[in-house]
């Protein structure tokens, strides 16, 4: 089905264009122009019609830049709304580099959501990976450089799985089209692609990059990152891998694993990071169970999650901005001094916990009820237990130990919080409440609903969902939610002395990544060093003989021949070392952006020459 959407209506264009324009705009004006691409994107998403457009032929491959259907629209809608909120939250920043990175990052997200083929998807996927790495590095501390480096390496690995899968699939099928995969007939390349997607969805045990890097990003960078990387991954999983049983189990493991670590964690932003793993777990499980109801639940939960998680990262970001730390052991009694930050945090905290009247309730319960109706009782119970842990750790523990547990030291200096940050949080909180009170606003965008053709033939029970849409506000659902949350609260009161945070880091899979990296380095650098020693020895002998013979030709031969061939190895090894030094000093960002630009340049050149 083709549509009339012009490529000029593509939201990625606004964000990527804005990113390139940032250096040219005077700083004073930039502040007010910053939300413009998001406003344009909102208008575009609300007015676009279903169907595909933006076709191109690239060396014999059919590319589709702009596929619009119910599934891509619901993600694009919340991407645009959260884009506006995050940009308002970042208005006070004078760091142009950071604005460029966040705009390019959001643009990459839109590019992925509307991509109709794997090549387009891969390119925007990598734009997101590089731009988000910049958001970690923009924090400009040794810690963020290291965390960003680990983050980038791991995403590169995930990107390579994806690329490998895409190319093998193209070799086998001769098509790049990005369409649903039959769960009973998946080929090895489908599994590679799935693995690449799972890295970005933070599926345990591929998740550790997330709680490792997000707490080291800038205050505003973390707000952007909380929304786009993992939810883009949820979108592509829903698009291609609905009904894959392994995702159903992996999702529930994520739900519980994230909650377990969050309960032990001290750094407030790392607690929130682990809760992304946990909440994305509901979505991955919904995709894996693969009924129309659980997929609707996954999409609704992605929408709600982006709003409340953004608000959580904004309000905890305010604590970090004002007090200079996000560690619970160093915070304590801030409610008297930052009461509005507390209230806004509380709105997000009850939303993520699934409190009735807030948006988490209308989306989380849909996923869980969908799992139960698909007779996956154990998966549903696992998700309920994760809901208990969510309220315990992020709804109660975090705010209690940040705002109430101790008497605040009145001598603590608090940096004033800019008004735009409060405005952004206010919009986020209002939307959490509005979508919670009027779930029909959210349900009207779900991918399986009356009048919309199902995007995948592998999703079960579509007719049932159209016949009996989920109703969140029934007496029993309300009572059940209040019982679970209320008695979790009682459990917290009983255990609050045990839950006191400790200043420690809890070892997670990132430790294995680091070990793996060291092993890789050792395996490769030792043989390299050995080869270099031998070559240098050979060169010394040959070079000496050349000098002693003092023949003109052999001198030429030595300079031009041996120097380039033999010493070239040494030079290249040396430059490899220099490259490593550059990486270590944090200049990898220059290298990474250059690589992306060069890649895009080559891509454009091939297209021009071949068409």
């Amino acid at each position: 089905m083709t549509a009339t959407n012009s490529l000029l209506a593509h939201p990625a264009l606004y964000f990527l264009g804005a990113s390139l324009l940032v250096p040219l705009v005077p700083t004073r004006l930039l502040k007010w122009l910053l939300p413009v691409p998001a406003l344009l994107a909102i208008v575009s998403v609300l007015t676009m019609d279903a169907g595909a457009s933006g076709f191109a032929d690239y060396i014999g491959m059919d590319l589709t830049f702009f596929r619009v259907d119910a599934l891509s629209t619901i993600f694009a809608n919340v991407f645009a709304v959260q884009g506006l909120i995050s940009l308002i939250f970042a208005m006070h920043l004078k760091d142009k580099g950071q604005h460029m990175a966040s705009l390019a990052y959001v643009g990459g997200g839109f590019g992925c959501v509307f991509a109709g083929d794997y090549l387009t998807l891969f390119i925007f996927w990598e734009v997101m990976s590089v731009a988000s790495t910049m958001l970690v590095w923009s924090n400009r501390s040794t810690r963020s450089v290291k965390a960003g480096f680990r983050y980038f390496l791991f995403h590169t690995l995930g990107g390579l799985f994806l690329l490998g899968g895409i190319l093998l699939r193209y070799a086998d099928l001769g098509t790049m089209s990005f369409v649903p995969v039959d769960p009973s007939g998946a080929m090895y390349y489908d599994w590679l692609i799935l693995l690449g997607f799972c890295v970005n969805a933070a599926v345990v045990p591929l998740h550790a990059w997330l709680p490792d890097a997000y707490p080291e990003a800038t205050v505003t960078g973390a707000v952007f990152m909380s929304a786009y990387t993992t939810k883009t991954a949820v979108y592509v999983l829903a698009r291609a891998f609905a009904g894959f049983e392994i995702l159903a189990v992996a999702g529930v493991i994520m739900c519980l694993y994230g909650v377990f670590y969050a309960t032990m964690e001290n750094n407030a932003r790392r607690i929130l990071g682990y809760h992304i793993v946990s909440q994305v777990g509901y979505m991955v499980a919904g995709v894996g169970i693969g009924t129309a109801m659980t997929l609707n639940g996954a999409c609704a939960h992605a929408y709600a999650h982006i709003l409340y998680k953004g608000l959580l990262f904004m309000s905890v970001g305010c604590l970090l901005h004002a007090a200079g730390t996000a560690k619970l052991t160093e915070l304590g009694g801030l409610v008297g001094r930052l009461p509005w930050v507390f209230i806004l945090y509380a709105v997000a905290g009850v939303s993520i916990s699934g409190m009735p009247f807030f948006n988490g309730f209308v989306s989380k319960t849909m996923t869980i009820a969908g799992a139960a109706e698909a007779h996956r009782t154990w998966l549903a119970l696992g998700m309920e237990l994760a809901a208990v842990g969510t309220f315990l750790s992020v709804g109660l523990k975090l705010p209690y130990f940040a705002f109430f547990a101790k008497k605040e030291d009145p001598a603590r200096e608090l940096k004033p919080i800019p008004t735009n940050m409060y405005v952004a949080m206010g919009i986020g909180a209002a939307l959490c409440l509005i979508t919670g009170l009027f779930p029909s606003l959210l349900y009207a965008q779900l991918p399986f609903r009356e009048g919309v053709t199902a995007y995948s033939p592998f999703v079960a029970h579509v007719a049932e969902v159209l016949e009996h849409p989920y109703v969140p506000y029934t007496a029993w659902h309300l009572l059940q939610a209040f019982l679970i949350l209320g008695f979790t609260g009682l459990g917290f009161v009983a255990m609050r002395k045990i839950l006191v945070p400790h200043a420690q880091r809890n070892v997670d899979f990132e430790y294995l990544y680091i070990l793996g990296g060291r092993l890789f380095l050792a395996l490769f650098s030792r043989p390299f060093a050995a080869v270099d020693t031998i070559w240098s020895g050979v060169y010394r002998t040959l070079g000496l003989r050349g000098l002693m013979g003092s023949a003109w030709i052999s001198s030429i031969f030595d300079r031009k021949g041996i120097d380039t061939v033999v010493d070239g190895t040494a030079t290249s090894v040396r430059s490899l070392g220099k490259g490593a030094t550059i990486i270590q000093t944090g200049k990898l960002q220059a290298y990474a952006s250059a690589a992306i630009l060069a890649g895009l340049g080559v891509y454009a050149l091939v297209w021009l020459l071949s068409s």
């Binding site: 040794t142 810690r143 290291k146 965390a147 909650v259 377990f260 309960t263 032990m264 001290n266 750094n267 560690k327 409610v335 008297g336 001094r337 930052l338 009461p339 509005w340 507390f342 139960a372 109706e373 009782t377 309920e384 237990l385 208990v388 842990g389 315990l392 109430f404 004033p416 919080i417 008004t419 409060y422 007496a475 029993w476 009572l479 059940q480 209040f482 019982l483 679970i484 949350l485 209320g486 008695f487 979790t488 609260g489 009682l490 459990g491 917290f492 009161v493 009983a494 255990m495 045990i498 839950l499 400790h502 200043a503 420690q504 880091r505 809890n506 070892v507 997670d508 990132e510 680091i514």
Partner: protein, 90 residues
């Protein structure tokens, strides 16, 4: 942005510290009401047998929270503990 209204709100929150006992007993009353309601209101289509016992989800929430807190903080956390800045050193 230390406006008057904000300070008053902050002071109100600070004042609630001294009324924690009142808040606690108010909370207990709410929980009791919820449990009473659960005697009469049960799901029409329980997904498993236990859901039909009054108080099942209350027990699930309370025991879940207590067990999670105890096992994770007292048993698991000491096993996983590293120094907070362990990755900052070279």
């Amino acid at each position: 942005m230390e406006t008057g209204m904000k300070n008053r709100l902050g002071q109100w929150f600070e004042g609630q510290r001294y009324k924690a006992v009142h808040w606690f007993w108010g909370f207990v009353v709410v929980l009791a009401v919820l449990l009473m309601a659960n005697m009469f209101l049960l799901p029409h289509h329980p997904h498993f047998a236990a859901e039909h016992w009054p108080g099942f989800w209350a027990l699930f929430g309370f025991v879940g929270a207590v067990v999670l807190a105890f096992v994770l903080k007292k048993i698991v956390a000491p096993m996983l503990a590293m120094e907070e800045d362990c990755y900052d050193r070279d």
